[in-house]
């Protein structure tokens, strides 16, 4: 009928006749808190296969059953009922650039971030792609058979592969926050590298940055097939402003025999967030996994990248840098499990504390019986920048095999008055001198990052020390 057609053409039918179905209704009235209905809606909205919905619902049950851990940082301020688990209310999405705190804007200025990116990072933009760079790289990857998609896309286009590995390295009931992520995950990356393929340029999720991806509950799965190599860089270094108080990501890595995966992160969430992450890798025969982990932001971070050495000759390395300024707590470190002979591992942790900041090293070294000929070295160094700063170390060592070599070293140092005087006598201001000492302190780890990241890492720490980042 002509009347209907006109209304449709005007696109007003929705408005006039109300919402069409419950799903639409749901997304127009978002609510806080978590229950099976919300989880079901998330899965439906993404058009997921039945098994994923089941996976999510089982995970939700595990989440509800487990108590909040008390052994790490202080989680008493975290209220699960006060969080939006998927869609944010319209007012939030309508938030403008004007609402972004000025200290965040200042940091963007200092880091020279382009305006379009700033909006994404501040949660006020919609989508941003580094068009030219991304598309030409995309072509090269496709030619090599490399799969690099967001997790939703990965599930859609490579369902069997995803199903084989998803949740197998980190089972949903591993811990409360892995369970939460397993129930409400959204965004993150799916990466598959075919046998023998070496990806020369680091893969960066940054290329596909958009507000949804940078979510609270990213889920990443990376599979490097036999003999493959990939370096994946998560996120980016600029401060990420969000009203979300909880970020709980899960990252699973699989390194098949002789494959190598390096996964680098510099986390810089705004100082009002809880950043609780589970990252774990499995390395098979003669495979290598390296975690390079930088923790600068957040109110509380609890993160212990892990490598399980399952095949003979496998190698795991964890390089961790943490900076805790006033009011921050970085509870970080690493876990290595030797479950096969002649495996080797190395954990290097550098933590810096200033003011009321507290940085904690928490690490596990476990060597199973039968893992003969295994070697491990753990080094955790702490630098205290002033009188109030605090650092703690909790190394857990469980060795069940006699024929192994392990080394453990821990140091705590302060910036000396003489050291500062020496540097200042060469024209450096006190801030510049402190920054130089800190720079030198993290150098063994910074040199493992691509140059532009190393420079940004140092610059960010300097800004944090000056107190100019929110």
């Amino acid at each position: 009928m002509p009347e209907d057609k006109t209304i449709q053409q005007l696109g007003l039918d929705e408005y006039k006749f109300g919402f069409r179905d419950p799903e639409e209704y749901f997304f127009k009235t978002p609510r806080k808190g978590l229950d099976p209905e919300i989880v079901a809606m998330i899965s439906k909205h993404k058009n997921e296969p039945e098994w994923m919905l089941e996976f999510r619902l089982n995970a939700l049950e595990a989440f509800m059953e487990r108590p909040t851990p008390t052994w790490g940082g202080d989680l008493s301020g975290l209220n699960f009922d006060d969080i939006y688990y998927y869609i944010r209310p319209m007012e939030n999405q309508g938030r403008s650039w004007d609402d972004v705190p000025s200290d965040i804007k200042n940091t963007f200025d200092k880091l020279g971030i382009p305006q379009a990116e700033r909006e994404i990072l501040a949660g006020v933009g919609a989508q941003y792609e580094s068009e030219v760079v991304y598309h030409s790289l995309k072509e090269e990857w496709e030619n090599q058979g490399v799969v690099f998609l967001d997790m939703d896309g990965g599930l859609r286009e490579h369902e069997d592969l995803v199903r084989e590995y998803f949740g197998t390295i980190i089972p949903p009931d591993d811990n409360k926050f892995a369970a939460l992520n397993s129930a409400v995950w959204s965004g993150g990356s799916f990466v598959y590298i075919p046998p023998g393929v070496h990806v020369d340029i680091p893969l960066q999720a940054y290329f596909r940055i958009n507000a949804e991806n940078m979510g609270q509950f990213e889920r990443t799965l990376i599979i490097a097939d036999e003999g493959a190599y990939v370096h994946y860089i998560e996120g980016c270094t600029a401060p990420t402003y969000t009203t979300n108080s909880l970020h709980s990501a899960v990252v699973e890595l699989v390194a098949k025999p002789t494959a190598r995966i390096r996964y680098s992160t510099i986390q810089n969430w705004s100082h009002n967030t809880y950043n609780l992450v589970t990252k774990r890798a499995v390395a098979y025969e003669n495979a290598t996994v390296e975690w390079v982990d930088g923790n600068l932001g957040s109110k509380l971070t609890m993160k212990y990248p892990a490598v399980y050495l399952m095949g003979e000759g496998a190698r795991g390395e964890i390089l961790s840098v943490a900076y805790a300024g006033d009011g921050q707590h970085q509870d970080a470190g690493g876990k290595v499990v030797h479950a096969a002979p002649n495996t080797s591992s190395r954990i290097t942790s550098k933590s810096i504390s200033k003011g009321t900041g507290r940085s904690t090293y928490r690490g596990l070294l476990k060597v199973h019986e039968g893992a003969e000929g295994s070697k491990s070295r753990v080094e955790c160094d702490a630098l205290l920048l002033d009188e109030k700063a605090r650092t703690d170390t909790y190394p857990y060592i469980e060795i069940e095999e006699k024929k192994v070599t392990t080394e453990h070293e821990a140091t705590v140092s302060k910036v000396g008055e003489d050291q500062l005087f020496y540097l200042m006598s060469r024209g450096l201001s006190e801030e510049e001198a402190m920054a130089m000492v800190v720079n030198g302190f993290i150098e063994p780890i910074a040199k493992e990052l691509p140059l532009e990241y190393a420079i940004e890492l140092n610059r960010l720490i300097q800004l944090e020390m000056e107190g100019s980042v929110g």
Partner: protein, 250 residues
């Protein structure tokens, strides 16, 4: 250029420098000799602005400006340089990176990376240093001789107007001593002044001083030309103490 008047310095309640007076003109090289405990290093550190010392009386002016209120970095920017007796280690910071930052802090106009590289190569050649040295972490694992050479290398790169060398000669063999002397002599000119603080006369054979002072118990008790250094070598500090004793400076 440098004028010190009636300087009194205390540390932890003990007076170390007791009314020291000194004037160093532009283009002059002075030597201050004294036994251990005379307060030589305290003087050097105070001139550079070490926070641990209390100035209880007196003044220090550099090119007419009062220096005692200034931070060490401000003094460096004015053109004052101290070659430390015990340079600090800074792990993870290469000599090259450190020098680049220091040179650009002190100069009015920053040098480009190419200019910096050239300057560094040039000065390292003067100091007979292997270019690879620049990649080592600042003072970490350096021998005594390497540390002292590195101090002089810094001086050559920073081009100060006044260099205070705090026992730069101690612990050096003849070769190292000659290299250090070469570095100082390179800088000699109407715009460069230096105060060599030393225990021994040896270095003064390679760097000819314009004036020599003897420091005892926190003050300069006598001054003279380079013959004073030779006399001291022959007769020792006890002779000085007897001759000039705890008396006020003339």
């Amino acid at each position: 250029m440098l004028r010190i008047e009636n300087l009194h310095v205390e540390v932890d309640g003990n007076e170390i420098v007791k009314g020291l007076e000194l004037e160093v003109g532009r283009g002059e090289i002075h030597a201050i000799m004294g036994p251990n405990g005379s307060g030589k290093s305290t003087l050097a550190n105070v001139l550079m602005g070490h926070p641990r010392y209390d100035i209880t009386e007196g003044s220090v002016t550099f090119e007419g400006e009062d220096v005692l209120e200034l931070e060490p970095d401000e003094r460096a920017k004015m053109g004052i340089f101290l070659a430390f007796q015990y340079p600090s280690e800074v792990p993870g910071v290469s000599v090259a990176n450190f020098l680049r930052t220091a040179v650009n802090s002190v100069r009015e106009e920053e040098l480009s990376p190419m200019e910096m590289y050239k300057l560094l190569q040039e000065k390292m050649a003067v100091m007979r240093m292997d270019p690879k040295f620049a990649e080592r972490y600042l003072n970490e694992g350096f021998s005594g001789g390497e540390k002292k050479r590195n101090e002089i290398l810094q001086m050559l790169m920073l081009e100060p107007k006044l260099a205070i060398l705090d026992e730069t000669d101690s612990g050096l063999d003849i070769d190292a001593l000659q290299v250090v002397a070469r570095g100082v002599n390179e800088m000699r000119g109407p715009e460069f002044s230096a105060v060599l603080i030393t225990h021994y006369q040896r270095i003064l054979r390679y760097i000819e001083p314009d004036r020599v002072h003897v420091m005892l118990d926190g003050r300069l008790v006598t001054s003279g030309g380079k013959e004073l250094a030779e006399a001291l070598e022959e007769r020792g500090y006890d002779w000085v103490r007897q001759e000039f004793g705890a008396g006020a400076q003339s």
